[in-house]
Symmetry: C2
Amino acid sequence: MTTLPRLLATMGDVAGVGPEIIAKGWPHLLDLCRPVVVGDPAWLERALVAVKSPARVQVVRETDEVSASAQIVPCLTASDQDLRHVLTGCVTAAAGRAAYDFLCKAIDLTMRRQADGIVTAPLHKEGLRAASLHYPGHTEILAERTGTRQFGMMLYADGLGVVHVTLHMGLREVFRHLTAEAILEKIRLLDGVMSKLNGRRPRIGVAALNPHASDGGLFGDDEEKIIGPAVARGQAEGLNASGPWPCDTLFVRARRGEFDGVVAMYHDQGHIAMKLLAGWRAVNISVGLPLVRTSVAHGTAYDIAGQGIADPTSLIEAVRVAARLAAHSASS
Amino acid sequence: MTTLPRLLATMGDVAGVGPEIIAKGWPHLLDLCRPVVVGDPAWLERALVAVKSPARVQVVRETDEVSASAQIVPCLTASDQDLRHVLTGCVTAAAGRAAYDFLCKAIDLTMRRQADGIVTAPLHKEGLRAASLHYPGHTEILAERTGTRQFGMMLYADGLGVVHVTLHMGLREVFRHLTAEAILEKIRLLDGVMSKLNGRRPRIGVAALNPHASDGGLFGDDEEKIIGPAVARGQAEGLNASGPWPCDTLFVRARRGEFDGVVAMYHDQGHIAMKLLAGWRAVNISVGLPLVRTSVAHGTAYDIAGQGIADPTSLIEAVRVAARLAAHSASS
C-alpha cells in the first residue's frame, strides 16, 4: 500500500469558517492524506462539537506523534495568541496574528520535511492588518518565508487550471508588470503543474488583455507586442500554448473542454470566470514555491461562520489536489 | 387584441449565421412580433431552403406591404451590393458593406416610424473594414446615424441586465473614461431599461474596477474616488444602487438573484460573466438611443455558418426583449 502524504491543514482566521470546514470535511480528508491540523485546539474542539463530529482533538507537538483517525484529530498548537475573547464573525488582531502564526508554523514544518504539503483555510486580510501584518494574502507570506521571487496563484477546478500573470494590484498597475517574460514564465508554471495534475501536457489558452483581443489592433497593441510573442516563445519551447484569445469566449471554450489551462493577465479576468464556473469546488494552488500548498478558493465567510452551514467542498478538493501534487513531488 | 409590434430583423453579414438564424427562428418570431427582414432576398431564400422551412421570401418595398406568416417572409431589399459571389464563412467587402446598408435602412425606417424597433443579426468587423467602414460594431453606427452621444450597450439574459461604462477600447484607455458622471449615467440607463423589462425598479450592483474592490485602498483608489461617489449620487436620486462590489463575487451574487442589474466598468468584466452565465440566451440591448434595438449576443460564427446548425435562441430572445421594449415605448 502506498503511504498517503502527510498534509498540514491550517485553520486560518478562527472567527471565519476555517475551523468548521476542517471539522466537517475531516472524514473525507482521512481518505486523501494523513492530516494534521495546525492552529488552535480549543477553537477546533468547538467546531467539532458544533458539527456533531464523533472526533476529538488530540494536541500534538510533532506531526507524526499520533495517527489521524475518525476519532482523533491531531492538532499542533501554533500560536501563543489568546483567542478566548475572539468572537465568531468579527475582525480581531488576535485572530489575524494567529492565522499568520499557523501559516508560518506550517511552512517551517514543511520546509523541514516534517510534512508533505500545506492546505490553508481562509484568513481575513483586515485581521492581518489589525495585527499590523501588511500582506495581501497567504501567497505573499509563503513567498517571503520561503525566499521565493517567482511565484503565482492558480485556480483549479474540474480539470481546468487558471494562472494569473498579475494578481493583487490595482488595474492601473497591471500594464507595467505585463512583459513577455512574465507571461512566458506563467505558461511554463501552468504547464508544469497541470502536467502533474492531469498526467499529460496541458493545452494552454493565453488570454488577451484587451476586448476582442484588440480586434486586430483597434483596441490596443499588447496582444501584438507582448502576449503574442510570449505565446510564440512558449510554442518554440514545445509547450502546447495558443492565443492571445478574447477572454470572454476563451473561458466558454475552456468550459467546453478545449483547454486544460488558461493564463489570465489580471486578477478579475480569471476570478470572474472561475467563481462562476466552479464556486465552492474551486481550489487555489500556489505555483513556483518550493513546497506544495493549496487553499480553499473562498474567504472567511464571516456572515455565515459558526453556524455549521459552511460547505467543506473546496477544502476537500484542496486536500485532494495537494495530495496529488505531494505524491508527484515525492516520486519525482 | 393588442397589435404586436412591427420589428425589423437585419440579416447582418450574409456570410455568417445571420440568414440561417432568421430562417430557423422564424416561427418563433411570429409569436412575438410582426417581423420584416431587412437584407438580401436571395441569401434569405437560400437559408430558408437550407433549414427546410416551409416559408418563402416575398420581396416588399414597404414594411406593411404584406403580413408575415408561417409561409411568407417579407423582405426589404436593403443594399445594391452584388452578393452572388460572397462565400459563406469568408470576409468580403461586399458582405461588409451590405450589412452596413441593411442596418442603415432599418434605422431610417424605424426613425420614420415605419417600424417599432430593430433586431440585428451579427455583422463581421473585418467585413466592415474591408469595405472601408471603420466602426467597432453596430452600436456606434446606430449612435452616429441617430445623432446620439450618450449611449450604452447592455447584455441581458434571464432577468439580469449588464451595462458597461466603457466598451470598445483598449484596457489602457478605460481609466480616462471612468468618471463619476459616466458611471452615474449608466446606473440611470440601466434603471430605466430594467424598470421597463422587469416592471419594477431594479436592484443595481455596481462593479469595482480593482481586485477585491481595491481592498480598502490597497489596490487602487478608483473605488473611493470615482465609483463610490457615483453610487452615492445614484442613491441620492432614489435609485436602488449599491457598490462598488468586487466583480468576481458580484456576478455570483447576481446569479443567485441578489441583483437585477450590474454596471460593469469595462468590456471584458461584463462579457466574461454573461458569456458564461447565459451563452446563446444572452441578448444585446442598445440603451440611450432614440429607437428600440436589440441584437444577438454572438458573432457571425463563420466556422459553422451555412450548415444550418446555428442556434437561433439568442435571436428569438432578442426579438422577445425588443417586443417588450417596443410595447413599453408605445404605451409611454
